[in-house]
């Protein structure tokens, strides 16, 4: 089956006063229709940038090279108007940080209905009704009241559900969920996961789930790609990657998760301006040898999954 | 959001409409035979007993009211409503013979009784009565057209004082004063304009220009720009000093006529603190008098629109002494006087000192004064080693500093607007005990006697001599440094013809006309 979205040789660079920030480098990733692909990695590894690159929502100082094919057309070659028509309708974004992603001066209902009116061509009243229904289906208590309120009156989980509703308003084929559980407490995280589960399994939508939460990824994803310093270092079926991690970074990530004893990876992720030569992970890698500092390992495919490590 | 935008839009529209409606009178019909005059300050009314002085008010008054006598272009007192006059030998009784062909604009006849009523009205209700009225003991109507003023004590400048615009002859009609002048008050829109229409009954003849509008324009630059743009036709009290460059530009404009007349009424001089500080020593005062180059100051500030000062009164005053000896700039003399007074440059730093104290003096000026004058004096005095600190004060504060002797030098700008005789100024500032506010300024017995003589000397020749001697005494004692006298500048549109603007008088406008 042809991929719904195919990212090829994507490279996103930010031109800043301090230098060129390589936020994503040589990314190849296919997302098949109906599948949920998880993109995991530490904060600052470039996974959110990848998500925003797909929708071309990056600030003006970002340069994107390569190809992002959606349903056969290269998104990077679309005109501003064409990409705008794609947004929300074909590809939706559920943004990270619910506290800042809703407009503080507009009622939540307005923020949902404007998308409904735009994409589903609903009349005002219909749109409001539909919004309430959507929120109800996301198990938001008392949705009639909530749509008349402003974001600051809602809890984080409620806001996340509003954002989910905004994302789903256009009945998109592809959802990019950018850290939907970031900063939420455990109970709300479970609620959000339920919502996302509901979205993917019941509606059969395709999703790119960007997260640093391995547990969320494990529960929702068919495939998982692990990103480190702007590169994909491991990619394969979810159970493979999480069950039998092959890249030392993936192993480290797994070991650092709360279930596995919270053993952090030593050191911290490198600045995207001055990336280390060779394998970008080698300064922090327990298995690193001399060669790791010299040779940049390619992504090797083995048994249906890919890994970027010299020892594979 | 849309609601907000709508609300903002609505408010803006309402504001715009209200502006448009309030202003929809639009461009009024151009009235052809109308003269527009710039007035620097709004008047406070047209009753001379209460209106007080505002800048430009005499222009308005000179069109509405006549006086018994006026001062002409040659600074002579000439007849206006009085045909002739005589004074008794004791100087106490002044008799005026009046014109018989004059009517007030209200239709009442002008006669001796009217003159008496007019002065009684002026004496009027104000807290500060118009000064001359306090000197009059009684006014007698000798016959219909002869009036006698009996004074409390001799007041020699009585006739000259009557030329003062504060003593117009008016009649009261419905509580409003009316005059005999060439124009009649039609409308006063406070803060904006005063409209006058011609007096068909004017005793000299019917004025040619139908309407005169005084437009109130406080800013001097705006006034000249309005003249250039043709929005006004006449500027009377043009303050030349700060506007030298502007005047030169206006003179090149083919539309405008710049009429300058050398004037003795606006003079700038520096006075010394005679009682306290270094200038209690006459030699120090003389040194400063020699050190300051008045010619240069004048050139710099007003250029050709003024005359350099030598003595207290300008050489153009009828009371000036033509060959008077002043202090022409002479740095050697200045230095000699300074060292005589004990000021030496003992530490060779270019600044003088005495007993270890530097020669440092304070010059107080007001914000309305021309700061450049003070700055020039400062740099000229620095050349002889005297350090001057300029203190720019508000008018009240400067007055206070002078009153309390908290100054060494003060800049005085004197406008003698009270008639043809400058006696008031001398009496107020230089006569002992006349006004305690000027206690720190030069006084001496000879000067006191001379100033008293100004009031008892009726003979004009003698008066001139007294004035000349006063000025000599002031110079001998180096009581002040005389800098320059500003010209009286009148600017008008070339369309205005047959107009002779002389000092503070616009009554000649009655025979002027506007060329098409």
């Amino acid at each position: 089956m042809a991929a719904l979205l195919s990212i090829q040789k994507l490279r996103t660079i930010f031109y800043t006063e301090k230098g060129r920030v390589k936020a994503a480098d040589d990314i190849n990733l296919d997302i098949a229709e109906g599948k949920t692909v998880g993109l995991i990695g530490e904060t600052g590894c470039g996974k959110s940038v990848l998500g925003l690159s797909i929708l071309r929502l990056l600030p003006r100082n970002a340069g994107i090279e390569g190809k992002i094919c959606y349903k056969g057309q290269d998104i990077l070659r679309l005109s501003g108007e064409q990409i705008r028509r794609l947004r929300g309708k074909e590809i939706a974004l559920i943004p990270q940080s619910p506290s800042t992603s809703l407009n503080p001066v507009l009622k939540t209902g307005v923020q949902i209905t404007e998308a409904l009116q735009l994409h589903q061509k609903l009349a005002r009243e219909e749109a409001w009704k539909a919004a309430v229904e959507m929120l109800q289906s996301f198990n938001l208590p008392d949705p009639e009241r909530r749509v008349k309120e402003y974001p600051h009156q809602l809890s984080g989980g409620m806001k996340q559900r509003i954002l989910a509703a905004i994302g789903m308003a256009g009945k998109p084929s592809l959802i990019i969920a950018d850290e939907p559980t970031k900063g939420l407490d455990a109970i709300i995280r479970i609620q959000v996961v339920e919502v996302l589960h509901h979205l993917t399994k019941k509606t059969g939508a395709t999703m790119l789930l960007i997260t640093h939460d391995l547990k969320v990824a494990a529960g929702l994803c068919d495939e998982i790609a692990v990103m480190y310093a702007g590169e994909i270092v491991e990619h394969g079926p979810a159970e493979e990657v999480l069950g039998h991690p092959r890249h030392p970074y993936t192993m480290g990530l797994l070991a650092s998760s709360p279930n596995n004893g919270l053993k952090p990876i030593r050191g911290c992720s490198p600045s995207l301006i001055n990336l280390p030569a060779g394998c970008k992970f080698h300064p922090r890698c327990g298995k690193a040898r001399e060669i790791c500092a010299k040779k940049h390992p390619p992504l090797v495919t083995k048994n249906g999954s890919q890994v970027r490590c010299i020892f594979h | 959001m849309r609601k907000v935008l709508k609300a903002i839009g609505l408010i803006c529209c309402l504001a715009a409409i209200s502006l448009a409606v309030s202003g929809c009178s639009g461009k009024s019909e151009e009235i052809k035979n109308e003269l527009r005059i710039a007035l620097p300050d709004d008047v406070r009314g047209f009753d001379p007993s209460t209106s007080g002085y505002t800048s430009g008010i005499w222009d308005v008054y000179s069109l509405l009211y006549d006086r018994l006598v006026i001062e002409d272009r040659n600074k002579q007192v000439v007849a206006q409503l009085a045909k002739s006059w005589e004074v008794s030998d004791d100087g106490l009784t002044w008799t005026f013979h009046l014109r018989e062909d004059v009517e007030f604009t209200s239709g009442t006849k002008f006669n001796a009784a009217a003159v008496k009523a007019s002065f009684e009205f002026l004496k009027g209700k104000s807290i500060c009565p118009v000064p001359l009225t306090t000197k009059i003991k009684s006014i007698e109507v000798a016959d219909d057209y002869t009036v006698k003023f009996v004074l409390n004590r001799p007041h020699a400048p009585f006739l000259a004082d009557l030329t003062d615009m504060r003593y117009p002859i008016l009649a009261v009609n419905d509580g409003q004063p009316v005059g005999t002048g060439p124009y009649i008050l039609k409308e006063w829109i406070k803060g904006k304009e005063i409209v006058l229409v011609k007096n068909e009954r004017y005793w000299k003849g019917v004025p040619i220009i139908d309407r005169i509008v005084f437009k109130i324009i406080p800013d001097p630059h705006t006034r000249s720009l309005a003249l250039e743009a043709g929005e006004i036709d006449l500027i009377t009290c043009y303050g030349s000093p700060n506007l030298k460059e502007e005047l030169q530009r206006l003179q090149k404009n083919p539309q405008t006529v710049v009429d300058t007349i050398h004037n003795w009424k606006v003079g700038h001089h520096l006075v010394f603190n005679y009682k306290k500080g270094p200038f209690s020593d006459a030699r120090a005062r003389k040194a400063v008098s020699y050190a300051i180059d008045a010619q240069k100051v004048k050139e710099n500030i007003v250029g050709k629109y003024g005359i350099t000062g030598v003595a207290h009164l300008s050489p153009l005053s009828p009371f000036a002494k033509p060959d008077i000896k002043g202090y022409a700039c002479n740095l050697e003399q200045a230095k000699n006087y300074l060292s005589e007074a004990g000021w030496k440059d003992s530490n060779n730093d270019g600044a003088l000192d005495k007993n270890g104290k530097p020669f440092r003096v304070k010059l107080v000026i007001t914000k309305d004064d021309i700061a450049a004058i003070a700055e020039m004096a400062q740099s000229q005095l620095q050349k002889v080693g005297v350090e001057v600190e300029i203190q720019v004060l508000e008018r009240g504060a400067q007055q206070k500093a002078i009153e309390e002797g908290n100054f060494d030098l003060a800049l005085f700008t004197r406008i003698y607007c009270s008639g043809a005789d400058p006696h008031l100024h001398f009496r107020q500032i230089y006569r002992s005990g006349a006004d305690e506010r000027y206690g720190y300024i030069f006084k001496n017995n000879e000067l006191d006697d001379l100033i008293n003589k100004l009031y008892t000397t009726l003979d004009n020749q003698e008066r001139v001599k007294v004035y000349q001697r006063i000025q000599e005494v002031l110079l001998e004692n180096a009581a002040a440094v005389y800098l320059f006298y500003e010209d009286h500048v009148t600017l008008y549109n070339r369309r205005l013809k047959n107009f002779d603007p002389f000092s503070g008088e616009l009554s000649t406008l009655w025979q002027a006309y506007l060329e098409k």
């Binding site: 943004p95 600051h152 905004i166 | 309030s22 007080g52 508000e394 008031l424």
Partner: protein, 314 residues
Amino acid sequence: MLKCIARRLVLMIVVVLGVTMMTFSIMHLAPGDPAEMIAIAKYGMEDLTQEDIERIRKAEGLDAPVYVQYAKWLSHTARGDFGRSLITGEPVLEEIWYRFPATLKLALAAMMVSLFIAVPVGIISALRQYSLIDYLSMTGALIGVCMPNFWLGLLLILLFSVYLGLFPVCGYGGLRHIVLPALTLGTGMAAIVTRLTRSSMLEVLKQDYITTARAKGLSEKKIITDHALKNAFIPVITVIGLQFGHLLEGTVIVETIFAWPGVGKLLVDSIFARDFALIQGCVLIFAVIFVIVNLLVDISYVYLDPKIRYEKEH
């Protein structure tokens, strides 16, 4: 909301009281004998005698201690009697009331001029950051901030009235008369508001919710009008309120240059003449306007920012 406004009204009385008290004491503490200043302003300085001055001092009650004078003024004012001008003898309220519409018209026109210029230019500059338009408008704003009113006013007169003959040099009258003074007065404010609108807009455009709005597929126009503007206006509105004070201050000079018969000119004249009754009246009016404008700003602020609205209600 109503409670809040009521509280603000009480505060307003306190502010106005404070302002008048300060003006009163400053005017009395300023060097120079007030009676003499009044006498000079009223009669000219030439042949004024000390007796005249003393008479005026007595007649106007200037011989009493300052606090007694203030208390007297306050008690009269509280009863609606603003007194009479010491110089003209006209009732203060009448004098101010007569000139007030002119000043209000000028201030409103200036505000409209500056908002109509500043807000769109600021928005365009933000949307086209680092473009030629942006550089031009920011340079213009910088010049606008630096340019003193009197200089700008004369420059405008020279250009538009003397050379081009488009508008009258000065005077009070129709729409044509108000253009140049409003421009002069509004420029400084326009410059500040332009810069603020631009920076505020830039700040807002960086926010996550704008990304959300974009991701929705909204058109750029809708994003600006529906999502960015209201947020960007919040700081702008505050500054407009504060700037209104400067606007009133500016009327003092602009009214003089353009021979505009307003309260600003009246205030200056009365200060020079130490016309206490009139000064107090003018200051009172200005203070009240300023406080009211800021109250309006706060109300609109509440309207724009739901957070404040709800905090106040709960």
